[in-house]
Amino acid sequence: METLALIETLDREGQPRQILRVSQWPVRIGRAIDSDVVIDDPHVAAHHATLEWHADGVRIVPAATINGVRLGRATIAPGSSPPLPASGLMTLGATTLRVRLASEVLAPEQRLVDLHLLQRRHATTLFVLIAVAAVWKGFDLWLSTVPGVQGSTLVWNYLSAPAALITWCVLWAIGSMIFQRRFAFWAHLRVALTWLLVAVLTQAVAGQLAFALSLPAIEKLGRLVFVGAIVTMLWRHLALLLPSRRRALAIAIGGAVAVGSGLLLIDRSVQQQPLVGDLYLGTISLPGLRVVKPVSADAFVKSAAPLEKTLSHWARPGDDDDDEESGGDDDE
């Protein structure tokens, strides 16, 4: 007999769980065992819907049920019998079915991704990332350690960073295990390393550039990039857990960051602090890095003249009312 269509019952991951070949129309769908497609779903009626062949194609005729038949998010109105949607997907109760018609035009064959090659490329990237991170951590440690520190102290200091990173990635991998059924340690390690390096290196470079050009704004920009990279890292970790929810996660995290930084900005502005970063640029670098010419003492002092206006504005009575009694020592 000629196969007119396939009706696939899909599981939660979207994979077919049960496939029925259709050789004649109509097809009755329901929980009752005399149905052509039997669905063991308590939210499905004994007879739930019928697929009928009409001159213009297959139509869905829902029976009188509580939960009805949904196409996407819309429930089919009682009494109407719409044609089968292009995707072939419909939901009965809590069960999703896909109908594939013999008359469908098939999409062309896709080339298989060479998984081995892909993995090798990933492994190379990961190796490069680990190497860069290891070198950076070593340099950073060397930079901030005065000579004469005990070797074992240095080793402890050096190893604390990878230990923390591994713990972090293991926890995320456990998350992946829960949501994706795979322990995606390397994927999480790659996300963490990439964005941590972006954050740390940008900040370091921004500090040096700000010193070279005497532009504290660059350092502040570096701090914003730092925060941005850390937020992106969190988003990427979450996206590995819930790939189908990437957009929603991006919106949620973006929203949270927007609200948080908005509150922070208001707070800092009320406290008359700089909105981003420190009171002044704290980077001192190699003398040779300085690009801009210094000014004379008098010119420097003259350039501070506008401070008078700002400060007398800040000192206006009433400006301190809102932070009475909240004065803290946290600024130091």
């Binding site: 002044y280 640029l281 001192i284 401070l307 000192a315 600024d331």
Partner: protein
């Protein structure tokens, strides 16, 4: 290391306890150093000099001239001596206590500004009261103050009937100077435990103090602030104001001339009812002008460093302390100089102002190499505090750039804060780090508190021009 002002306040109870402990050895030390003979070296010695000097001299046949003068002085002072109490507006609880002396027939009383500062600044929360030795009390009104020298005049709202009989304190004539070592007597009510007379020694003026103060070798305690210090004729030579807690019996008096000047201009004034901040700011602006003018007139001192000239102030009215780390350190080597003024002007419990400080650190990073030296220098540059958040001042606002003076390029930051309640006054801090050499450098910091904006700029410029690069000889 700053002198501590002496209002006895809410923690008086605790302080009294601590001080009683501290005072045991103190009182004995005093007897030794002043070579007071023959007070029995008993555990009771701590009572001998102070509280019971007037009445407890039964053993004084041999030394009656000394102890008798203390008794005579106290007898002179007794009717004119008062305790000045700051009370809460609506209760009789005292917020702080000090002392005062009757100097005008209409009930005019001389005391310290810091004794009445709460009433001056927050009249809606506090009021003033007095209590004489014989227990007469009544309300006081603030008449005038000299915040720079920490003096104030208050007047009895309703002088007691016997006011005329009490007599007035007189001042020692300016023409007759005291000699170092002369015995003088401080009167007051320490820690609210009772009126006392304290014998001590006049030791001339405090050295290197911008605001003239008498160095009094005698034990002053909180609560005696504002009390008179008398010569052996019972004439006022000064007013109790402060003591050093890191020393013993290092106490400070406001010279009588400033009190006389305040009385001359303020005795007839009407009680102050409004806001005192404008007048306070005016006095502080006069002070900062004198300070700035004198400071800028002084040349910077020579520094011995091979490559750097660093602005180090003369020690006319500042005091410098030096320190350095051990030369066998394997890291950054530094030498530090820290210069500051001894006198800061009391405004309120949380605010002192009207002083300058200059410090620098010279670094030798040859053991570190260029990169690590830059890192260390940056660390030290970054962690400079520009002032805690307070109600009295705005947050700091900074200007920064590379500045070059006399061949020395520096990374320089200047931060200012404005006084919220004292219009026209600012704190300024200038922080400067040399950026000429790979493994050596100098970091300097200048601070001025309570100066006008124009003077802040003047001082900053003066300071930065004290840096120079020296060609090695």
């Amino acid at each position: 290391m700053l002198p501590i002002s002496l209002p006895s306040n809410r923690v008086a109870r605790l302080l009294a306890l601590l001080l009683a402990v501290a005072l045991g050895p103190c009182a004995q030390a005093k007897q030794q150093s002043a070579q007071l003979p023959a007070a029995p070296p008993s555990p009771l010695a701590k009572q001998s000099a102070a509280a019971s000097a007037a009445e407890a001299d039964s053993d004084s046949e041999d030394h009656d001239n000394l102890s008798a003068s203390a008794r005579r002085i106290y007898d002179i002072g007794r009717p004119r001596l008062l305790q000045v109490r700051t009370l809460l507006r609506d209760q009789d609880s005292q917020a702080s206590v000090g002392s005062g002396s009757l100097v005008g027939a209409d009930g005019l009383i001389l005391t310290n500004y810091h004794v009445v500062s709460q009433v001056a600044l927050e009249p809606q929360r506090y009021r003033l009261n007095f209590q004489t030795v014989d227990g007469v009390s009544g309300a006081l009104q603030l008449i005038a103050f000299d915040v720079v020298h920490d003096l104030a005049l208050v007047r009895m709202a309703k002088p007691p009937a016997d006011i005329a009989k009490r007599g007035l304190f007189e001042f020692r004539p300016a023409s007759t100077t005291l000699a170092q070592g002369e015995r003088i007597f401080s009167l007051g009510n320490p820690l609210d435990v009772g009126f006392v007379v304290v014998e001590g020694t006049y030791n001339g003026m405090v050295e290197r103090s911008f605001l003239p103060q008498i160095l009094f070798s005698g034990a002053l305690n909180p609560g005696m602030s504002g009390g008179p210090v008398l010569d052996d004729k019972g004439h006022i030579v000064g007013v109790n104001v402060a003591t050093r807690r890191d020393g013993q019996q290092i106490s400070f008096l406001v010279p009588a001339e400033f009190a006389q000047a305040l009385i001359a201009r303020g005795a007839q004034a009407r009680p102050i009812t409004g806001n005192v901040e404008a007048e306070m700011a005016r006095q502080l602006l006069v002070h900062q002008q004198q300070l700035t003018t004198r400071f800028i007139a002084l040349p910077w001192r020579e520094t011995k460093h091979a490559h750097y000239s660093v602005p180090v102030p003369q020690e006319d009215f500042m005091r410098c302390w030096g320190s350095s780390n051990s030369s066998d350190s394997k890291g950054l080597l530094f030498e530090r100089s820290d210069c500051q003024m001894d006198t800061a002007i009391f405004i309120n419990e949380s605010l002192r102002t009207g002083d300058l400080a200059v410090r620098h650190e010279v670094y030798d990073g040859s053991k570190l190499g260029a990169l690590r030296f830059a890192q260390e220098a940056g660390q030290s540059f970054r962690n400079e505090g520009m002032g805690r958040r307070t109600h009295d001042l705005t947050a700091p606002k900074c200007e920064e750039d590379f500045v070059e003076n006399a061949g020395l390029p520096m990374r320089t930051v200047m931060c200012l804060r404005a006084y919220r309640h004292l219009p026209g006054l600012y704190d300024v801090a200038v922080l400067s780090q040399s950026v000429d050499a790979k493994t050596e450098g100098v970091q300097g910091r200048f601070d001025a508190r309570g100066v006008s904006f124009a003077n802040a700029m003047l001082l900053a410029s003066h300071y930065l021009q004290g840096f120079a690069w020296k060609r090695s000889p």
